[in-house]
């Protein structure tokens, strides 16, 4: 087992900038046999490169907006390497590699664009993990009046200082390094509220909300009846809520966003 512990510690060493992961002959110290075309230390390097390239590629997939905001090289070496070193993958599912990435960014990233970067990471992760979240029994119309309602696990609510979802859609249309020489699309600095959830067809979709809709859904997200949700609405928005609640509920119920 000592061979394996040594092997593991070697291939976890970060690649140097330029994606080079070569070891010296001395480092491998006769533990790896030479092959027909490569000496032992070069053969071990293949595993080191594979280890890191796999994580770089996965993080680009999980966090498409972050990947494009930073471009591939800074993403890999300034974010993924320190993140994976801080949070080595403990889950048997590689898909969970990025689960702590938004919180890690929030705790460690110091750029002036931190609020946007953290929001982008949170949104990317919600969209990545949404399809695999459980689908709990949808609320029926009969349950609407009296039951304690909740949001499905794949539904998340967002209160944003910018109109981010359409800009995100534009950003991820291009390749990871597609914005290096071009300015990013302009963010509309308008406070807004959104729901992100799985559509009946299974795709993750955005629905822009009014502040009143957001407040109602936010109360339901903690478990509440419709009547309790209405009680939490400020006086100024009560008329709007009472006038709209039936139609809104029908839409949320039709889309399968509520459970009991």
């Amino acid at each position: 087992m000592r061979d394996l512990e040594w092997f593991g510690s070697m291939i976890r060493r970060p690649l140097s900038v330029g994606y080079v992961g070569e070891f010296t002959e001395e480092e491998v110290a006769g533990r790896i046999l030479p092959g027909p075309k490569l000496p032992g230390h070069n053969r071990l390097s293949i595993y080191r490169q594979q280890y890191w390239l796999r994580f770089f590629k996965l993080m680009e997939t999980c966090f498409p907006t972050i990947a494009r905001l930073f471009s591939s090289h800074p993403l890999h070496f300034h974010l993924v390497v320190p993140y994976v070193q801080a949070h080595p993958p403990h889950a048997w599912s590689i898909d969970l590699l990025g689960a702590q990435f938004p919180a890690w960014l929030e705790a460690t990233y110091e750029g002036s664009d931190k609020p946007l970067v953290v929001l982008a990471a949170q949104v990317d992760w919600a969209i990545y993990e949404g399809p695999t979240q459980p689908e709990l029994p949808a609320v029926t119309l009969a349950q609407a009046a009296t039951s304690v309602l909740r949001l499905q696990p794949h539904v998340t609510l967002w209160h944003m200082p910018w109109v981010f979802p359409p800009v995100r859609a534009q950003i991820i249309e291009r390749p990871v390094d597609g914005w290096i020489d071009e300015p990013f699309p302009k963010l509309d600095r308008t406070e807004c509220w959104w729901l992100l959830g799985r559509s009946p067809e299974g795709a993750m979709t955005w629905k822009r909300l009014s502040e009143t809709q957001y407040l109602l859904l936010h109360t339901l997200s903690q478990g509440a009846t419709l009547a309790q949700a209405l009680e939490n609405i400020p006086e100024s928005a009560l008329d709007e809520a009472q006038a709209g609640i039936t139609a809104w509920f029908m839409e949320w119920q039709h889309n399968g966003w509520l459970t009991v």
């Binding site: 512990e5 291939i11 046999l33 027909p36 053969r43 796999r54 403990h90």
Partner: protein, 279 residues
């Protein structure tokens, strides 16, 4: 227990979900990566349920890491068994490799030293796993790029010792034999000769990438001629087992993936015809 020959299959991948569900192509069976469905939630599970209505499903795992310094992960195994009951997989396979250390995963199929000590560790674990799963369990040979100087035997001697001491089955990856034979300079037919082929319950085929100094097992291209030739050499010796094409990167259409897999028919039909003549 009789192991069924399911015919020729391909890996169930999300790139082909829509075509499979809408066209229901005449594919014999699908193999799933167990870990992709083990949470048994959300869209992947909903799609798998629909696919299971029309096709046999076989589970193949990538995260067991049977030779790892870390002990077996019983939480993982319980989830694996739960999914196996749901899919009714006739057998279940993972790799003869390691991949966990100090509680974290490498998410790679790392090579083992071919030692007596490792045979003992892996075979004991494999026996325990098969008993726990209550279905045939098979280990697959991996492609490798490095070999430990501490090895005491060849890879095929190691593979043979593990499956025989554990009394488990073999998932033979013909592409992996070829890739490793080129990377370690051995005769792939000698590898085949050294194996107890009556234990093979499934064969994997795949494409690889030639990096000049070594071959990399990438599952992103058609099967090369040399691997087809090796398959033609191996397949009759197994007396006919299920065959599966793996294609995991640079996806092509379902139709093209299936066409590539169907090239195996050239060899499987020969065996069927020979058997028919013999009777």
């Amino acid at each position: 227990m009789t192991i069924p020959n399911l015919g020729i299959g391909i890996g169930l991948r999300s790139a082909h979900y829509r075509e499979i569900l809408t066209q229901k192509p005449p594919i014999d069976w699908f193999e799933i990566i167990s870990e992709n469905y083990m949470p048994q939630t959300g869209r992947p599970m909903a799609i798998l349920e629909r696919v299971m209505e029309d096709y046999p499903i076989v589970q193949h795992g990538v995260s067991l890491g049977i030779g790892s310094p870390d002990p077996l992960d019983w939480d993982y195994l319980k989830k694996l068994k739960s999914l196996a009951r749901r899919t009714k997989t006739p057998w279940l396979s993972d790799h003869l490799c390691w991949g966990r250390l100090d509680g974290s995963h490498f998410h790679d199929l790392l090579p083992l030293p071919y030692t007596r000590e490792m045979v003992k560790i892996v075979s004991e674990r494999a026996r325990v796993i098969q008993d726990f799963l209550e279905i045939p369990f098979a280990l697959e040979n991996v492609s490798s790029y490095a070999e430990f100087t501490s090895s005491e035997m060849s890879e095929w001697e190691f593979y043979r010792a593990v499956v025989e001491e554990a009394d488990i089955s073999m998932m033979l990856d013909v592409n992996n034999i070829y890739v490793s034979s080129q990377n370690h300079d051995f005769d792939p037919k000698a590898y085949v000769h050294g194996l107890p082929l009556d234990r093979v319950l499934q064969i994997h085929l795949a494409g690889h990438t030639n990096c000049g100094t070594h071959l990399l097992d990438t599952h992103d291209a058609p099967v090369c001629d040399a691997v087809w030739d090796l398959f033609g050499y191996v397949y009759p010796k197994t007396r006919g087992v299920s065959v599966l094409l793996e294609w995991d990167e640079q996806f092509v259409s379902l139709e093209d993936t299936w066409s590539e897999a169907l090239k195996a028919q050239k060899y499987t039909k020969q065996l069927q015809e020979a058997a028919a003549c013999a009777t």
